[in-house]
Each structure stands twice: as structure tokens, then as C-alpha cells.
Symmetry: C2
Subunit: 234 residues, 2 copies
DNA sequence: CTTCCTTCGATACAGTGTATTGAGAAATAC
DNA sequence: GTATTTCTCAATACACTGTATCGAAGGAAG
């Protein structure tokens, strides 16, 4: 039985009133501050002045906690008032999808762990469904086959781009958030590898000015790619 | 100091000759069979008839083992003989990128855990560099700015699409690899959610024939999107 | 043969997710 | 009102994780 089907245990007016909401929020705070690895049932429970086993009334497994965390962030992404379908497939489907993608990226930058979990588990929570709903609704009343093609392609890009961006961000910070230090740390090794001559294209790319890829720009290309699908019918 | 910089300890002709190669292969076999969570230093060591601490001569942390595993799969992806740059930006850059994307996907289907790790850690291993090299080389001598735009966009799509596909595959298998059983399990919950009327677009999508999104098709769209960049020159 | 230095395995520790169990309180029955 | 049942919670326990420490064994150098 899925988490979202099970009712919460009635909140006893016991010492500290607990709830899924509070548990999830504590877990998210922990993950935001100290990373996903720091999220243990013991620490989450401790943050709420409770024993670890207390949580098992609200969750039946740690996986479920992660599911709830992910769903919570989906809730941050989807604009709360946008349940209604957008304009009937005008040309603003691009703007709508772009907006959603941007919000997804921003949420992932706020909650870096989200990028690790995104797409790694089936999303059936209410907010994940709302997210899916919002995605599909961007295309108005376009044919369902077209909609799924467009949305899944764009979503795949967003997922991958966000993941890459967060990873790079972490890597930079790992060496002391100094770009110079980063080059200095990875430099010797990379230089030696490139000196082997086995990676000429990489060498050319490293020596050139570093144009780090832009999220919005890549998104434009992807949207360009699927645009004929939606305007051209099919 | 990175793993790839450190030499292996000289292989004593001790009871069982160990090597990074053997360790990584054992770990990969374990991950393929029982999932990434089953990869523990103890189990890997046991598979090689060694104590857990023995591995610390070859690795200094479990993270490094994961890095080596990822790099090994990169080695499976990149065609071994394709170090030379492809044709000078003809029109076969599409074919080359497609080939590489397909091979990436196939590797992820062979090693599902690869999808979980892909893009989650900086890739600087020799095979990862070769992969990057092969990606960049697909575009021949196109301007470096264009190359990075194209490759990073395509890679983002591949990463996201592969991840989604593997996740769905796992979800289906979790209920007993029966599509009917899957619908039956998730059905009641989904039906109830859809009955709330809050997800009309999702409902339309679920009721319609389920066109699961195709990897190659989405890739085509993305390539279409970046095509003007490479043919039109920057 | 003795000495030294490397390498290995055992032990140990802090931390994890979770099953079990026993105490205590709330709710019900009389 | 008291007695009994039921439910909730916290403590304990277990198997497991990654890794530090340390003592012993074994090959190399003198």
C-alpha cells in the first residue's frame, strides 16, 4: 500500500505532536543543510525530539520518507493556482513548458539532493501528479500522442541538465568553491591525461574559453526540436 | 589524489592475486545481479575470498570503487577503436551521436545501477574521458562553442531519458513484471486520484492508449533542435 | 640467522534501518 | 467507580554498513 493511501495515525496530544508534514520538513531541512546522506531516521527523529521508532507510525520504511520528500519538492515546483489548462495550444506552450522547467531547476538548486532522487523512483504522489498534470496541460488539447512525446522529451532533458548542473556545482564546491583551486587540484592529472594525446578534442575544449552550457539555451534547442510536432499536428 | 593517479600495490603472489580490475569486476557482477545496494566492501571482498580490509590497498574509499565501476562501464560504451575523429562535420555527426547515445542506453540497460550513478559524480576516469572525447569528436572540427552546446544538450537528454527508462523498468518489475498486475496494483490508487478531477490531463493520458515514449524518437527531436547550430555555423 | 619493513587479517567502533518487546496510557465494559 | 482491553510509544536488540587501529606473519636485506 502506498504512503499516500495510508491515513496518518491520529495525533495524540502527546509530548510533541508529530505529523507526516513535520517529519518530512525536518528531513528536508536536514538534507538541505548536510546532504542526503545525513538523512537518517535517527537524526530526523532526534530533530523532532522523538525516538527513531516513533516515525514508523507515519512511515513504514525510509524509502517512503524519501518519496514524501520528493513529492514535497514537486509541490514547490508546480504553481499552486495553475490547475486549469493553459490556452488551447496557442504558441504559449513553449512559455509554459519553459516556466515549468525553470521552476524545476530552481527547486533542484534549492534542494540539491532533489537532483539525485529526481527520476529515480516512480512519482505517484499528489504533487508529482500535479506536476505531471501541469506538464501535460501546457499543451492544451493537442493530441495525446503528441503531448506525451513532447513532454517526455523535454522532461528527459530537464532531468539530465539539472543533474549535471548540480553535480558540477558540488564538484566545484568540493575543492573549496574556488575556480582557481579547482583547476589547480584537477589540473595536473588532467594535464597529464591530455598530454598523452589520446584526447585531442577534449584538449581543444579545455584550452578554449570555457563556455559552460546554459540550461535555458539547451532547453530552447529541445523545444525547437519538438516544435514541429505540436504545430504540425500529427 | 585521484584513484587513477595512484599505482596499484604490487601483486604479491599471495593466496589470491588481487587487482583493481578483479575488484571492480566483482563489484559490477554483484551490482548487476543484486542491485547497487548489495555492493558492500564486505561482499565484494568475500566474492574474492579476501577480508574487507584487503581492498583498502587498492581503494581508499567506497566512493572510489563506485567511480571505478562507472568508468568501467564508460569503457564498454565507447567503441574501442574510435579514437580518431570522425569525418569533418559532414552530416554524419547525427549518426555518430546517435550511435553513442544508443550504446549508452544499452550499457545502462545491461547495468541498471549505471543509470543511478550516471551524471552523479564528476567523470575524469580514462574511459570517461574517452567517452567525452568520442562525444566531442562526433562533430569533427566544428567551432568549440558549438560543439559544447550540442554535446551537452544531447548528453542531458540521454542522461534523463535513460534514467527514466530504467526507473520505469524497475517499477514494472517490482510488481512482478506483469503489466496487468502493475495496473492492478497501482490502479485503485491512481483511479481514486484521477476521480478527484484534479488531474484531467493525466486522466486523458492514462485512458488513452499508452504510448510509452521512445528513446530514439526523442533523440531525433533533440538532434533536430541542435541541427541548425552545427549546419548554420554558430 | 637476525632485523626490518611491508602487507594482511582480526578486532573494534560508530552509525545505519528495522523487528521485537514490554511498559504505560487511553478507551471501553461493567 | 473500578477492571479490562487495546493501542501507542520508547527501549532494546540485531544484522549490517564503512572504515581506523593494531598485532602478527612473511618476504627482503644485512
Amino acid at each position: 500500500m502506498l504512503v499516500w493511501e495510508r491515513p496518518e495515525p491520529p495525533s495524540r496530544p502527546a509530548p510533541s505532536p508529530l505529523s507526516r508534514e513535520r517529519i518530512v520538513r525536518a528531513a528536508i531541512d536536514l538534507a538541505d543543510r548536510d546532504g542526503l546522506d545525513a538523512v537518517s531516521l535517527r537524526k530526523v527523529a532526534a530533530a523532532l525530539d522523538a525516538g527513531p521508532m516513533r516515525l514508523y507510525g507515519y512511515l513504514s520504511t525510509k524509502e517512503e520518507l524519501l518519496d514524501l520528500m520528493v513529492d514535497e519538492v514537486y509541490g514547490e515546483i508546480v504553481p499552486s493556482g495553475s490547475a486549469g489548462p493553459a490556452g488551447p495550444s496557442g504558441d504559449d506552450w513553449r512559455a509554459a513548458l519553459t516556466e515549468l522547467a525553470r521552476r524545476t531547476r530552481e527547486a533542484a538548486l534549492r534542494h540539491e539532493w532533489f537532483a539525485d532522487l529526481l527520476g529515480s523512483r516512480p512519482r505517484l504522489g499528489p504533487n508529482a501528479l500535479a506536476y505531471l498534470e501541469a506538464s501535460l496541460a501546457c499543451l492544451g488539447d493537442t493530441a495525446v500522442g503528441t503531448v506525451v512525446r513532447v513532454v517526455s522529451t523535454v522532461n528527459a532533458y530537464v532531468l539530465g541538465a539539472v543533474r549535471r548542473e548540480v553535480t558540477e556545482l558540488r564538484a566545484e564546491r568540493a575543492t573549496g568553491m574556488d575556480e582557481q583551486a579547482y583547476q589547480a587540484a584537477r589540473g595536473p592529472y588532467l594535464a597529464r591525461m591530455l598530454a598523452t594525446g589520446r584526447y585531442p578534442a577534449v584538449a581543444r575544449f579545455v584550452e578554449g574559453e570555457d563556455v559552460d552550457p546554459d540550461f535555458d539555451e539547451g532547453l530552447e534547442y529541445v523545444l525547437d526540436g519538438v516544435a514541429p510536432l505540436v504545430s504540425g499536428g500529427r
